[in-house]
Amino acid sequence: MKFTFKAALLSTILAAGLAAPALAQDTLKLPNMSYRTGPFAALGTPHMNGQLDYMTMLNERDGGIGGVRIAFDECETGYNTEKGVECYEKTKSEGALLTQPWSTGITLQVLPRTNVDEIPMYAPGYGFSAMQDGKTFKWAFNPPTSYWDGASMIMNAISNGNLDSLKGKKVAFLHLDHPYGKEPLPLLQALAETHGFELLPVPVGLSEMQTQSAQWLQIRRERPDFVVMWGWGAMNAGAITEAVKTRYPMDQFVSVWWGAHEADLNLVGEAGKGFRALSWNFADSNSKLMQDVKKHAVDAGKSQLNQGAGEFDYTAYQRGILMSVILAEGVKVAQEHAGTPMITREQLRWGLENIKLDEARLEELGATGMMAPFSMSCSNHTGHASAWMVEWDGAKFNKVSDLVEADRSVIDPLVEKAAADYASANQPWQMNDDCAQ
């Protein structure tokens, strides 16, 4: 008896490992690589909750997209690149329509494979900036805006649109010492050279995220006119508390969109007044979109949201919602074009390339004012949505600017070069030669 039990256990473990789970034909498989564990869980979780809740809402309200339910399965990576490989292979074998790597490190690993395996990669608001070049990166998408767009928009915003006014000034670039944090450096260096401001990169190692005393000592000594932050996870909260402690003027402290996170600012409250972030989304809990999510996912008890902490109103949570809005739009466009609700990877790729989220469509979705309108094409896989500067008033973020534009004339040549470099380093690389635009 004992032996048979052990044998049964062993054989099930073996069978589970060997047999790929049966493919269910009646769902759209849109898996996500989540990290609700590990050092970046604090910022990852609200985004993942948002992404998941919007898809849950679509399943509950509309029965999915085009009448087919969405299987938005999560594969936990803990931001660990090793798990990323595992999750990519697992979801691929299960027939996933796309991959959402959710980390610049995993993106770097997976990007060349997606081009060979012909799987769309959806990296909303993160990833590799050069992915905007859809001719080179046929299968990769990073709407609504890229890091280089973000860096350019931040510089435009802090100089009030006149970058030459920064001449002779000093801009500290406080960033995570990781592929993600280094991403905007080439653009900022190019801007610093043309406009004559001094760029001071201040890297924060993964092990120093919480205690940035050395970095802020350097900032205090150098007295930069602006600090631009490119942080993630625990680094943002660490930087904001250090800035308050060293009494760095908050109105000179600007972050990329991930810094617009209420939980980090709640730690300092009033003392953080004046802190700004560039955000491509703006939280509006009363919008029709959010009310639908509230009704069908949150109040129905189908969400993992931490309601007690007010996570529903977080910019990060609602950003997650919008990430899924864009993806669902791509799926819908693909279904309409293909004439069938059960789309293939190639059809989804077409759908993502042909997303048109204009004001009318945003209003239809109930998301007016939550993000800027944008559209994509086969040569433009980013969409280049504009973004707002949001400012912390001690209790919440407010829009303090009109939509800020990125400086395409600086970014596009850099993108072209980076994409060409990437393709030549990865020869033979499949380009999208059909794209005429």
Partner: protein, 358 residues
């Protein structure tokens, strides 16, 4: 019954000291190799290769390298992750500087860079021992990681600071890069691992291996019988770091495809050290058993809920996984503190005398 040694007579010292004094051991190994070379390639899926087989082989190789240093020569090292990094970065530089270089040559050469780094950081072992040496190798870990991050030449001034593996061919087959079929990568790794394992088995059984063991067991006694401690310790550092460096090159080129410096942090060193300790210090087989437990088992456990349709969230599976593996590690170490290799040795002894208890 399964392991009956009756009738296998040894008539010379040569046969008594043969690699497989018991015939069944050779049969068992042949069976495992049959699985590795024939059965898995015919049956396994991409997921099996990329998430299970290739990582197990590479981690086992890294642990084998560490085991030579720690298990055979008795020098504790916490710098394995960084030495893997040296191998990986050296291989990357070699193939970008000499694009026509054969990948086997590049990987074989990259081992020498990590071996040189290993010897350099092994120099303190001539004066300090045990935990103090571990701290010295810890310095190697932090210093080398810092170097990988700050020395932009190492990653060809890439904006993201990461190294990316180009597509590389060997005898007309792409073996590295995104275009490489997984089967080619698997066979490449398998053959390299087999060759190095054979080398390691032989070197640890021979004269050099015995000097290492003598140094490990009591270095003063070893010195008194005429062993040159400096030569013994530094050769252990050299061979160990060479193997670890090759494992690092395979780690990036045959499996990951891209790597940033943080990949080679102290967590990786600990992971390899745990594989060596749980597998069994001073054993070759143990590295494979340890890698199966630490690398493969979590992946297998992760697939269980989905296979049975259990409604457990992926994050919860991850938490459960950590708990189960932790409990198993403690459990195995309580049952057999000398590691899984010793555990297998006990099972084997029992099988030899089975069905009699003594």
């Amino acid at each position: 019954m399964f392991y009956r040694i009756a009738g296998q007579y040894k008539t010379s010292y040569h046969t008594d000291y043969a690699l497989f004094p018991v015939k069944q051991d050779a049969w068992l190994l042949a069976l495992i190799l049959l699985f590795a070379f024939v059965v898995f390639p015919l049956t396994a899926s991409d997921f099996m290769f990329r998430a299970l087989l290739i990582p197990v082989l590479i981690y086992a190789l890294a642990a084998l390298g560490l085991n030579i240093l720690t298990g055979y020569a008795g020098q504790l090292s916490l710098g394995t992750g960084a030495f893997m990094g040296v191998g990986a970065y050296a291989c990357y530089k070699l193939i970008t500087i000499f694009p026509d270089l054969n990948i086997i040559v590049a990987i074989a050469l990259s081992g020498f860079f990590s071996a040189a780094a290993g010897v350099a950081f092994g120099l303190p072992s001539l004066r300090i021992k045990g935990f103090y040496l571990a701290i010295a190798t810890l310095a190697a870990q932090f210093f080398l990681l810092w170097l990988f991050q700050k020395w932009a030449w190492l990653y060809n001034y890439n904006a993201s600071g990461a190294i990316q593996v180009p597509n590389m061919q060997l005898f007309g087959v792409t073996v590295a890069g995104a275009q490489a079929p997984v089967l080619a990568q698997y066979f490449f790794v398998l053959i390299v691992v087999c060759v190095i394992t054979m080398f390691a088995v032989n070197i640890t059984r021979g004269r050099i291996g015995r000097t290492w063991k003598a140094v490990r067991d009591m270095d003063i006694a070893a010195e008194l019988v005429g062993i040159n401690l400096m030569k013994a310790k530094l050769s252990a550092f050299f061979v160990s770091s060479y193997i670890v460096g090759i494992a690092g090159a395979l780690f990036v080129f045959m499996w990951r495809g891209a790597a940033e410096a943080d990949l080679f942090d102290i967590q990786l060193s600990f992971r390899v050290l745990f594989i060596a300790i749980i597998g069994g210090l001073g054993s070759i087989l143990g590295n494979y058993l340890g890698a199966l437990l630490i690398v493969a088992l979590p992946v297998l456990i992760g697939t269980v809920p989905a296979a049975f349709g259990l409604p457990i969230s992926s994050a919860m599976v991850e938490h459960l996984n950590t708990m189960i593996i932790g409990a198993l590690i403690i459990g195995f170490l309580i049952i057999e503190p000398h590691g899984l290799a010793r555990f297998w040795a006990l099972i084997r002894e029992k099988l030899i005398i089975w069905p009699f208890p003594h």
